[in-house]
Amino acid sequence: MTAGNGRRVGSPYAPHTDADEAAMLDAIGVDSVEDLFDIPADVRFDDEFGIDSTDERELRQSLADLFARNEELTEFLGRGHHAHYVPALVDDLSRRSEFLTSYTQYQPEIAQGFLQVLFEYQSMLVELTGLPVANCSMYDAATALAEAALLANRLRRGASGHRVLVPEHLHEGRLGVLENYLDGADMEIGEYPMDDGAVDVDALSDLVDDETVMVYAESPTVRGVIEERLADIGDIAHENDALFCLGSDVVALSLLQEPASVGADVVVGEAGALGIGSAYGMGLGIFATREEYLRQVPGRLVGVSEDSEDMRAFTLTLQTREQHIRKERATSNICTNQAWVALRTAMHIAWLGPDRLVGIAKDAVTEARALAQRLDDLSGVKAPVHDRHHFREFVVYTDQPAPAITNDLAGRGFAVHALDDHHIQVCITEANADAADEFVAAFEEVA
């Protein structure tokens, strides 16, 4: 089990002593572990991968060295992946192994803790969306949007066409995922135009027809614009028997119009804006909808029941929608999801409470407005490009080429995203607002 130098050979996480291994082989009735492998000779692998095993200390050092190759930039980046400050409490409690190293709650009697947290997460989403059903996680906003389209399509099987209308300004990741998910359902995507960063409602109205199964709009949009005519959009969809799907995020939902109040049939978007911070795009998809679509919902649902002593108990429920039971007739193929992120998001929401949650949402509006104004004051810069209310982020026009500015800003310690030759997108939250002064100063130097 151990080599002479004290280093364990083989898997460091396999606990077998030599004596145990011998006893176990004896009990099985074979001479060696090799005898247990029933692999034909012609497909046996007799080579090696050439991956050296590394001890924990060395590996941590080498990964720290690797990550040190990432430049330390203060990010003013958003576009669907937003960093709010994650409190230590969330890290600390979510790392408890009872949460982190548990499996899906197939035996609810010994999984009440996680089930309750997921139930509480669903409840928080119900509060934030005003819709009575929220599942306990999708992968991210993009896949949640795609699943919403599939749900809309299932509801409208008899429709003459199968078109989903999406805004002209849509994050490329969301559009790309939507295309892939819709392909197999023989659905198509139509784009409707934007007017100064918001939905061109009249144009949309002209586009919606009886082949439209769903109209999708976002608030805030990928450019940070707060939509002002959501209820009108909902009406247009409903007048044509299409679902109205609203995309948002868990912070914005705390401040902006409640989706139910503007007629949203499905709410999708990012809940990972709270709970994980910058994680290279890893997220948590929101999926909330109306009661009548309950049995069409993708993903897992936690419900309340009673145990044999009539005590309240939680359990995964309505599993007959899921693929392990319904196979190809399931509402979705999603199985492993983002449960642990949902747990973290729920903890983060709970830590904030309603007052501070609304507070950081307001900050997202006021900080963005203030920063846009300060950039607008710089020569050669116009911000925001769209004359709209913004949430967290906005587009900046620069006289100088945007890629060069982006590059120069990186040299000064700031990361922004160039949209095209003369447009840069800038995002601010309470987590990077402290650096706003230096950011504006740097922008002035390079713009």
Partner: protein
Amino acid sequence: VYEPLLSEKDSTTVEVDADGVLPDDLTRDELTLPALSEPQLARHYTRLSQMNYSVELGPYPLGSCTMKYNPSFTEDVAGDPRAAVHPDRSDRTVQGTLGLLHGLQEYLADIGGMDAVTLQPPAGAAGEFTGILIAKAYHEARDDDRSEIIIPASAHGTNFASAAMAGYDVVELPSDEDGRVDIEALDAAISEETAALMLTNPNTLGLFERDIVEIADMVHEAGGLLYYDGANFNALLGRARPGDMGFDIMHYNVHKTFATPHGGGGPGAGPVGVVDELAEYLPSPMVRETAAGYEQYEPESSIGKVHGFAGNWLVLVKAYAYIARLGDEGLADASAKAVLNANYLASQIDLDVPYGPFHHEFAATSGDRDAADVAKRMLDYGVHPPTTKWPELVPEAMLTEPTEVEDKASLDDLAHAFNAAYADSDEALETAPSKTSARRIDQVSAARNPRLSWQSLGDEE
């Protein structure tokens, strides 16, 4: 043991007074959520955690789930603040991030015998879907219109669902009497409509598909592709590679095989490996190494996106760290001990195991005892029971996968739980569990009257 809901501890309605921030008609009127202090929350979640089983409390022998120990250090590595970057960062400024992704692409390709790997799919099922989309793109590029995916009856439910989501008809393949692919049935199923055959190997009974080379030839001859479901790959590390067996596409469940924590249901990651001929269809972006450093690129005929960004980054870091920690020796040993453990455990239980020889998991049958009841009774012995009543090929199946992390003593405890529960009275089984914090939970009532939020509980409680 009972912990009130957050909403039962506090429910605070705040008026959303956005005066001066936004016009009134753009904001909600109020928001109701619990407003609790940090000590109250710390207790809430600490108490809840103690009401939950985990792999750090005992064995978790769920077949095909590969619940192995998740090394602590990988959490620390994933939490490195320098790795907490945004996906819109330019390549030049995130060479560490791209370096890790590239390294993991390479590791997985080597381990699976594949030529190129995407890390984007955020879970195993997403990997399946991605793989099938790649197969579809491949056929479409050749103007080869195919409509069917063949899947053995014993396969994971996600296979069927993923194929269907991609727009394929599913052809279900019965098993042979030895529990493996029935070659004759396969022959009958294969046609010009066959886009792909999805196989799990070892299959969900833990049995190696000995005829894999013949199967691969049959599929390829018909113009189809062979897809490998990586759920059971923990059985084969360093001993056989899907690429060498003739598979064209595979997904890896890093939250199974490579020990990233399952987190109570996710996040996982389902990287997809393909052979050279299919590499051009992989999702975008991929990472490659150039003289100037790592860069992202879009494969020539990419299917596009299967995740809004780059997948589940934190999970990928942990998978990389696990593979680098174990290396060749460790990976091969993991499989060896996983197979040893499954075979030893099977030798110690009184239940029949109808098929064999199995590798890292086995499907025992509880015969005339209800497998779900036996499982519930096992809870009273302090262990997590196996997967029950699946695969359906074995009546009252108890699909058991102890993984390599259990020691002999733990396996003996597990065998005791099996045997004691199996031998218990009908009454003991039907009323089990009796020693858990929650007793047997009524599933029918939960589904019949769905109460899915604290708002739905109303005044009833």
